[in-house]
Amino acid sequence: MTNNKGKRKRYQAQNQKCAYLFILPSMIILSVFVFIPLIASFVISITDMNIFMKDVRFVGLKNFLRLFEDGRVRNATFNSLYFTLLEVPLQVGLALLLTVCLSKNNRYSKLLRSVYYLPFVCSMTAIGIVWSMLLDPNMGLVAYWLKQAGLETIAFLKDPKFAMPTVIVVTAWKGFGYTLTLLAAAVLNISQSLYEAAQMDGAGSFSKFIHITVPGIWPTISFCIVTSTIGAMQMFDQAYVMTQGGPLNKTETVVQYIYDRGFQTAPYDLGYASAISVYLFVIVAVMTFVLRKFILSRGEDADE
């Protein structure tokens, strides 16, 4: 009996050691490349470190004070918010509308859903190159077609007024298929008997949508809104490829400005770049918190 117990204990101890070995590689990598940088980011933000990393001194909150007086930070913050507030509703709204049209799981719906997903598989670089060429005001096909149709052409990505809206539409174009995939999976999970019961009560298709579909997929909708908001606030690729932040910095986002300060423009001010990262991190955290609170409470209302 005691022998057995001892054996068991030894076995468990060995099992524990084994478990640590299983998680060891992942833990090392996550510690070195996520945890430490996360903490370091806050530390670097209060130094004057540049890319040569010599004579690093602590400067307190100087970087943060500088940030609040930097007009380009203000401009980039405005651009990121502008982008997020229009892109997310456009992407999620379009996906929701299409989900309604394609809620049956027949062949047509399946085919179209996989077509819509196609741009999501492609890199933003490739998408950006293609759309920049198509939208070129001089030789682009879209501009030419608009002219043929007798419409006034605009310079799209080269016009300070239209550059950001164009980037927004292209981003939504690339991403709505992904949102649609998530929403459609959620819709197909709703029990058919709910719809049948509503049918018997004489509910029309619009009221079925409002009272059954929306509450049924609300957790997924809120997941899509939160994740695409976080993603949109970190927008970089689109503007880097299509506009390089221009024209007149009208599409320069916060992440782009971080990249520019730290890695593109001398004196490669890593301390300042980190301070802007921390600043963006706080904005995103607050937005996520508020969104969740707002959306979750609405979700509970919808359940009632």
Binding site: I29, A40, C101, L118, F236
Partner: protein, 277 residues
């Protein structure tokens, strides 16, 4: 009678709307495909034509003269492939331990890992760069692959898959006196092939397409990935339209082919990501 007609009308409107959107998705991609077979003159011809008037392989044959496409493709394959293979191994090992083994601190460690999923890349970007620089790994394959060699999301996904498997499986292995690693490798791992394929595709696609990360960690032209290298070259406006189109098409082709044949797994990976909440 009247009601039947009304439903039909809304269905027709729905079909027209969804088809129009499908065209708007397909046309730009189709345009890229056919335009990469245009001649130099055909590419910049005005008024522009959708289809080439004269089909040619010229752009593909000479793309290497203006864009180091072979080197870039090789870099991307090594980077995205390397990350995928190593990350699949480490993710599934850690996921297995968290799901099937009991050890001190497992709950705490797992919640910390889940929390790191919410750390946005831009906050760790600068320190990550400094680390890779200090390790002397800037502009190397190892420096690109190592920070991505495991992922919180992958650990989470594998662990939820392993949790769903019946407990009796590893018992039989233990009775046969197999080591824990052999149980993992020969009994458990083969069972999660679908999850591994989905996660593998997820990693491969993300890294293949990633821009900011490889852009930051590489400095020379001959370590640039397709998406980072093309973005830089096109941004500098030194490349002609023709080779750019061909190179862009080349950069998309592997994922498009993968998507056509493994569509199910692309979607499944996404669906799991959606259940993260």
């Amino acid at each position: 009678m009247n009601k039947g007609k009304k439903i039909k009308l809304s269905t027709v409107a729905g079909v027209i709307f969804t088809t129009l959107i499908a065209f708007s998705v397909l046309l730009p991609i189709l345009w890229l495909l056919v335009s990469s077979f245009k001649t130099d003159v055909g590419v910049i011809k005005f008024p522009p034509r959708f289809f080439p008037e004269e089909w040619t392989l010229h752009q593909y044959l000479y793309v290497g003269d203006s864009i180091p496409i072979l080197q870039m493709t090789k870099n991307t394959v090594i980077f995205a492939g390397g990350v995928t293979i190593i990350s699949l191994l480490f993710d599934s090992m850690a996921g297995y331990a968290f799901a099937r083994m009991r050890f001190r601190g497992s709950k705490l460690l797992f919640s910390i890992i889940l929390l790191t999923m919410m750390v946005p890349f831009q906050i760790i970007m600068t320190p990550l760069y400094i680390e890779v620089y200090k390790f002397n790994l800037l502009d190397t394959y190892l420096g690109l692959i190592l920070p991505r060699a495991t992922s919180a999301f992958g650990i989470y996904m594998m662990s939820s898959f392993f949790t769903g498997l019946p407990k009796s499986l590893e018992e039989s292995g233990r009775i046969d006196g197999m080591s824990e690693f052999r149980i993992f490798r020969s009994i458990m791992l083969p069972l999660c092939k679908p999850a591994l394929v989905s996660l593998g595709i997820f990693h491969f696609m993300n890294n293949w397409n990633d821009l900011l990360y490889p852009l930051m960690l590489t400095s020379s032209q001959n370590k640039r990935t397709l998406s980072a290298g093309l973005a830089v070259l096109v941004g500098n406006k030194v490349i002609k339209y023709g080779p750019t189109l061909a190179a862009t098409m080349i950069s998309l082709t592997p994922l498009l082919i993968l998507y056509i044949f493994c569509q199910k797994y692309f979607i499944e990976g996404v669906a799991t990501a959606g259940m993260k909440e």
